[in-house]
Symmetry: C2
Subunit: 588 residues, 2 copies
């Protein structure tokens, strides 16, 4: 049987595995091109303003966001196993960049760009190495509640960081609560023109996001026309905002902050820092970006791929994102990953292959070469509005409510992560969250469900005495423990058994039922040896029933079965109870 | 049934719970006194030299060890639930004290005593609070392999710390490898008289420890005479060593280091430091002492109690040890706990109640009042020999061999802890060990055993296709996962299922079998929702079979069952396979 199951997994040559383009390029059809062209173009329309806005969020000049949207996208198009993932700057990674480089930035900001490049290089190394070592699974140590709490808090932090652009005031950099407090106490200093442009942009973006799509659908507009229109809102507010400033000379008359000169032309080759001290200082941030970026990316890639019964290969995805970041590091960009909203649009617009990603990159390159003068009058408030509307949806109350209802420990880890990110900052917050989730898991399994069982009358079925009307046997306690036995819970089991034994002078035997025990670690084994020994000293004999095959193999292998005595292990609970003379008339 | 099981646990009034002396004092019998007197006296004979030796190990004057053996023992006698535990200075806690106070000690050592008192106070607070909060179970997060690796490495570190006393040379304080290297390269500078006294003491102690007991038994010497003789070796070498120095004036002629003046009289009231900075600096050490000390203590207390079918109450033990340490903090002592070897002797000598502990304390008090002049000529090398022989048995190769054979992950955590303690020091080492064990546990459960199952012919029993000759069904994959589903393994399960689905275009249904799933956390629930959704998009239906009652309750409660559809949940795997038309002739 082993053979046939292995055959089910399609064989891939290693060249094809590491260069997924070979899988789709050879079978590329003309019909694929229509979807790729449309999707690539719509994503480019979204990406131009978003890339500039996210660069602003990261504390970088707007062109850095555009540069990060050229070579990385081409690389991902060639190496990625998802055919619809749209890679580029995203909000949370941009926030992480901002918080990571801020403490290292020289007062004149001269090294800011190089720090961002270095961060991209470190992320590239981490992700590629993780992919090659095939250890992508470690990102799973961040639980969904932790990720949800982190994302919600990060969205609030991002929102807070954009208030200054929206109000047109200066806010000294600081933690979340400081920023919000400062903004609230300086509301009256807002720049009216900036505020009007910002709020107007938010209104337009919200309308496009929430209502326009449905209206166009109701009016029967064809999808390939409706989709570009619905998704052009960021571009529209960019145009309207720039036009307003230019016509009204608002940058001079009303002191509206604008983007200013964006250099024209493709990025030149850039070099990140190779100073060990810089690497060491940026490493924690790079690790967090590598993990969080990958998780965001793989989640949407998997979800979209499954809709077409396609497959994404997690470790190759790490390599593809890693090398895309390498591209960003050497072409004036900053860390990138697969973004949720643009990927969904890419999919909806019919992207069939990585070519869509390449088309987006070409359009961004053309924008950088020819269109940057158009962005001179672009108000920062418009970019802030784009960020705010994008992250507003990330604050996730529904998950909290759901998780709270389902499992209080999970809800606690969500809330602790949320609070820690706001109070301790973005990186410490996520560390606290991950540690909390791990410890809560250990804590939960350290007090497993233990049931004393009895026999359902006239049967061989044993059930919890607290839940069922069952027959018990005064001199035998049959205990089922619903958890693997390992160091954190083994003492709990021991205490529980002693409590049952001490409770009655009649008890002469304890039967430990192993139907739910998937593993017994060395600590638990030692505890079982001690327990057996101590129970014997107390005049009580320990028996085992229904131990699973692989667990039994290990117990036999280490000599535990021989030490205890083979006759004290039974295939089933019923066998044990019969042998211990519990039911006088046998199998009645 | 609930009622009857609760009745099995004996009710104790809360006064009796917190003052266990009330349990034995009211029923104290004259026959108990013989055992208590003999045991208390023998333990005192052992404790006088050990207490001084361990104080030396902790870097403290010898009388501190004696002071720590008076009030704390009386307190434990009144509050402890173990009737045979012998509390006082022990080797590993003394080492922890040495490593914890060393970095804070003034160059003239003037604040050393106060730091030790403060450490005792902090340990008192931590243990008492843990006991009152009933969270003693958290000490279980240290697994047996971690504890074994820690103990072995600590024994080596202790041994290394005593070399200087044995050789009579100066060794600058440093980490383990530095100390050993320095000793090896300065062997030729040894003080011959000191070395002879030290090695002679080791020879005598080893003979008494390994051979004398058996000989006395063979010669038919009664136990109540043989035991005091066998256990008087430390006292004997103290007398012989002191005599040799006094007679030969070796302290002056041969430069043998001696204990010197030990102040006479009971300790006066002492005050620990209450400076927040000192508390903060000592807190990590205090935490480690609280945990390690409690673990050593509770292990031996439980083991001895079970032999007489008595009970120790873990949380009351924490309170008793905590208040014993409070006593140490205010009477010139340092942190104490229940020691292994003295407790076993106490038990063997027939200690019946806490009165034995009180008798030991009275004898130590009399020693401090009347006998301290006798210790003037005591060579440090004798105390070093006592420590060395005591810790030699702690290096534990057998556990490593056993664990290595049983479980490589456990063996790895043992070796990593061992190496980390030697290389990084005693406290960092234990932290590394605990973190390693937790992460290895998570790692193990993150890749659970997943079996594709088929039907044993002509039965309703389903078994792993790789292990048994079973019938499978081409359009249905039945998967059993042998682990609870939670955030660290949920993606692994998802990937495994997709691999099976992608491997064949025939698959139309996946049956997930939950017989070994004790818990599904919020992350796993979300993954199941996503998986169900994505599989549906791929034309595959997800079914569930044999989900456990409590898990099913939660899934129903959160609406998952209704969302998926009740008809997709089956009581047994066989029900599912029949409904999915796997076996054309039904239950053949």
């Amino acid at each position: 049987m082993q053979q046939s199951f292995q055959n089910r997994i399609p064989k891939t040559s290693s060249l094809r595995r590491y260069l997924p383009i070979l899988q789709w390029a050879s079978s590329y059809q003309r019909s694929d091109l229509v979807g790729d062209l449309l999707a690539g173009s719509i994503v480019a329309i979204m990406l131009v303003p978003q890339a500039m806005a996210y660069a602003l969020l990261a504390g970088l000049p707007p062109q850095v966001g555009l540069y990060a949207s050229i070579l990385p996208l081409i690389i991902y198009g060639l190496l990625g196993t998802s055919r619809t993932l749209a890679v580029g700057p995203v909000a949370i990674v941009s926030l992480l960049v901002a918080s990571g480089v801020a403490p290292l930035t020289a007062t004149d900001g001269s090294n800011l760009l190089q720090l961002a490049l270095t961060l991209a290089l470190l992320v590239a190394i981490i992700q590629t190495v993780m992919g090659l070592l095939r250890v992508g699974f470690v990102v799973n140590f961040m639980s969904h509640p932790v990720l949800s709490g982190f994302t919600s808090a990060a969205a609030l932090v991002i929102g807070a960081s954009q208030i200054k652009h929206l109000l047109g005031i200066r806010i000294p950099s600081g933690e979340f609560f400081d920023t919000v407090w400062h903004a609230l106490t300086h509301l009256s200093e807002s720049n009216p023109a900036t505020l009007i442009i910002g709020l107007g942009s938010i209104a337009i973006l919200s309308f496009f996001k929430n209502s326009l799509g449905k209206w166009l659908q109701k009016w029967g507009v064809a999808k390939h026309i409706a989709l570009p229109i619905a998704k052009s809102a960021p571009l529209l507010v960019v145009l309207l905002g720039s036009l307003a400033v230019w016509l009204g000379q608002l940058d001079q008359t009303a002191n509206v902050a604008i983007v200013g000169t964006v250099p024209a032309g493709l990025p030149s080759l850039t070099l990140p820092s190779f100073a060990p001290a810089v690497w060491q200082a940026l490493l924690p941030t790079a690790l967090v970006i590598s993990f969080v970026g990958y998780m965001e990316s793989i989640a949407v890639a998997k979800s979209l791929a499954s809709k077409r019964r396609q497959k994404v290969e997690p470790n190759q995805e790490l390599i593809a994102l890693g090398i895309a970041n390498l591209g960003a590091a050497f072409t004036g960009g900053y860390p990138v990953t697969g973004g949720f909203s643009r990927s969904v649009v890419n999919y909806d617009a019919g992207a069939n292959t990585g070519l869509a990603s390449v088309i987006t990159a070409v359009l961004i390159a053309l924008t950088v070469i020819f269109l940057t003068p158009l962005f001179y009058f672009l108000p920062n408030a418009v970019l802030a509005a784009i960020v705010l509307v994008a992250v507003a949806g990330l604050v996730d109350i529904a998950t909290l409510r759901h998780v709270w209802h389902y499992n209080k420990a999970d809800a606690a880890s969500l809330l602790i992560t949320f609070g820690a990110v706001l109070a301790l900052g973005i990186e410490n917050g996520i560390l606290v969250g991950v540690a909390t989730a791990l410890l809560l898991h250990i804590w939960r399994t350290s007090k497993p469900h233990v049931a004393v069982v009895g026999r359902l009358p006239h049967s061989e079925i044993y059930r919890n005495v607290l839940r069922h009307q069952v027959e018990t046997c005064p001199h035998v306690v049959a205990v089922r423990v619903d958890e693997s036995l390992y160091f954190a819970n083994t003492k709990f089991l021991e205490d529980t058994i002693w409590q049952l034994v001490y409770g009655s002078a009649d008890v002469a035997a304890v039967v430990l039922i192993g139907t739910a025990v998937n593993h017994i670690d060395a600590s638990a084994l030692e505890t079982l040896e001690t327990l057996n020994h101590d129970l014997r000293d107390a005049g009580v004999t320990l028996y085992f029933a229904a131990i699973k095959g692989p667990v039994m193999d290990k117990l036999r292998d280490i000599g535990f079965v021989q030490q205890i005595g083979k006759d004290r292990f039974f295939m089933t609970t019923h066998d044990a109870m019969l042998t211990l003379n519990c039911w006088q008339n046998g199998n009645k």
